[in-house]
Subunit: 339 residues, 2 copies
DNA sequence: GTGTTATTTGCATAGGTATGCAGACACATC
DNA sequence: GATGTGTCTGCATACCTATGCAAATAACAC
């Protein structure tokens, strides 16, 4: 186990001071070309690289971003995380993962650990951290950006798709398709995402004078959503269309309808999802769904985080990114429909 | 932005030395109950927690594990990562993510960054890091465990399922089912995982005197695998069974067979996968597959890493975990089959 | 009382880097 | 030659915590 090579070692070898070595590796510092060359050659020879921990300690910037995530079984998140990591990496930041477990237990402990590592910023995904998150992070001066969720009144920046509009588009598409008993399987109601999708959906139905035929909470969980679908179809007046709050549940619903209940999609029931995860495009499902533009959401998240890092007291921003309805075959297509 | 509260502040407030504060937060250090109480109360009041960076700097242990990952679109990985993170978190470690991109570009840069952060250990997943990884990490004294891949002769510990046996079980099941033209769509051959699955598969066929009817490289990629399947079926003598090297590809193959070619699974072709990802159990696919026991693989990975942390010059271990064949309906079930 | 051992505490330093400050130097200007 | 301007460089210190060492205290036996 070779002893770690430090800037001292390099300095000695190059016959300069430790400060000089440091300056060579700090961009924006004043160094003569001659010295830079000497130092770099010595550093290469010894295999020296600055210690990120020591650097973070003194600069007060760790270049670590905490990512808090509850679960990864909805494939929307792995995709987003991969992109997040790549984009941040290109800017010299890295993601430190914190998992809260499905039921958001131990939020308190997670936040503490997050702060222990002196993270420069925090991104949360698939998660609802209570008010204490915002307070403690604000107290520590750490910027937070919520990804795919918003907490109104929390003073935290948030990036989502335009869920209200998405909900509206869903309703309009189903109405145009001539559906009359339109149901919704929602995500849990503590999530702004669920509330907004429902609100937009409901508003558009109202505007058309159509009732929301039924509303069930699917809790963003496959099993729950499948049960909800079974219950809906067992009613005396089953729906002829179901808007499901995300693809992950929508696929479970389709499985339930087709394989357990022997129904045809979309002939018997139209299904609409939300997210456009890769599987939605697979022929076995071919799910009509509202796309969340992951790429743009990720870029916006990182931009917002970087902006907050540069400008500490910047006001929180609420960023909503519009995504298209991706028409496939799981929902009846209105006559003469053009996108 | 509140100034950071340090052990000095706590010491002052509690009327003790900084060392005392440190000792209270270092388990195994000698402190009187009286002082511990005083310090803790002062710390709570000020909201003090030890700075992990400073601590890492002096102890030489950052409690950060680097996770190197190429891609997350195969759902086997998000699942594993979530579990890895949870298990490590319980032991006071956290995962710092490094993505290499699909084509393993920039491996060199990734390793450098990894070392910059003074990670205590490294776990790689879905990735083939060349010999330089092992060399540089060995030089720096950082333990490495490969997850779901092995590099023979590299001297690195590796945890996989028992791929040889898995391949064998696949062949035996297909043979018992009476198949005679048995093909394989493999992963890329740089991966030990692919090679072992194929080797086990081939060995069992040989032993039974059956030929491997066809072999194509699917590169662990959906599109490539689907094309491979199309090509196979376009031959004058198409296979009656295909063993696909992972579920991710197997599902694409099933889609291709059923929706593009109008074939029936398993009546026209039997399909076998590998992994048992959640989707394999969904009724739309109901894929017969070899389970990789994620939970046990993750536990073994973490155990091995911790062991290497405790015993620096420990010999590398190669851990293979047996998983069952999960029989569903995508492959013909042999007469009188019992598991 | 002395002596012995165990426990607790503070002092001082180390760990690896960044940076304010002042000195050194070169060069130009008058 | 004196003064000013600008560029480099080294010194010394700070960031925050852990820990070896020695001093102080306590506990105990005789």
């Amino acid at each position: 186990m070779a002893r770690k090579v430090t800037s001292q070692d390099v300095a000695r070898k190059a016959g300069v001071s430790q400060s000089a070595v440091s300056r060579v590796f700090t961009r924006g510092a004043s160094v003569s070309p001659d010295m830079a060359a000497r130092v770099r050659s010595a550093a290469d020879e010894l295999g020296y690289r600055p210690n990120a921990l020591a650097r973070g300690l003194i600069t007060g910037r760790s270049r670590i971003i905490g990512l808090v995530v509850a679960y990864l079984d909805n494939p929307f998140y792995p995709d987003a995380i991969e992109k997040l990591s790549t984009v941040l990496q290109a800017q010299g930041y890295h993601l430190l993962i914190f998992t809260t477990g499905k039921h958001g237990i131990d939020t308190d402990r997670v936040i503490s650990e997050l702060l222990d590592y002196q993270v420069d910023g925090i991104i949360t995904a698939s998660i609802n951290l209570s008010g204490e998150l915002s307070e403690r992070c604000a107290a520590a001066g750490i910027p937070v950006v919520l990804f795919n969720r918003a907490i109104p009144g929390s003073g935290l920046s948030a990036v989502t798709s335009d869920n209200l509009t998405g909900g509206r588009k869903a309703a309009e598409f189903l109405l145009a398709g001539g559906h009359v008993r339109i149901a919704h399987i929602s995500g849990f109601m503590d999530a702004s995402t669920s509330r907004d999708r429902l609100a937009g959906f409901r508003a558009a139905l109202d505007r058309a004078g159509a009732p929301l035929h039924a509303l069930v909470d699917g809790r963003y969980d496959r099993a729950t959503a499948a049960e909800a679908a079974r219950d809906l179809m067992a009613r005396p007046d089953p729906p002829d269309a179901i808007f499901v709050a995300n693809d992950h549940m929508a696929l479970a619903v389709m499985d339930m309808l087709r394989f357990d209940l022997g129904l045809k999609v979309p002939q018997d029931v139209s299904i609409l999802g939300y997210d456009d995860v890769p599987m939605a495009g697979w022929p076995a499902y071919d799910l009509t769904t509202l796309r969340q533009p992951t790429r743009r959401m990720v870029d916006a998240t990182v931009d917002e985080l970087m902006a907050k890092l540069d400008t500490p007291n910047r006001a929180a921003r609420r960023i909503e990114i519009d995504g298209p309805l991706v028409v496939r075959t799981s929902a009846r297509i209105p006559e003469g429909y053009t996108p």
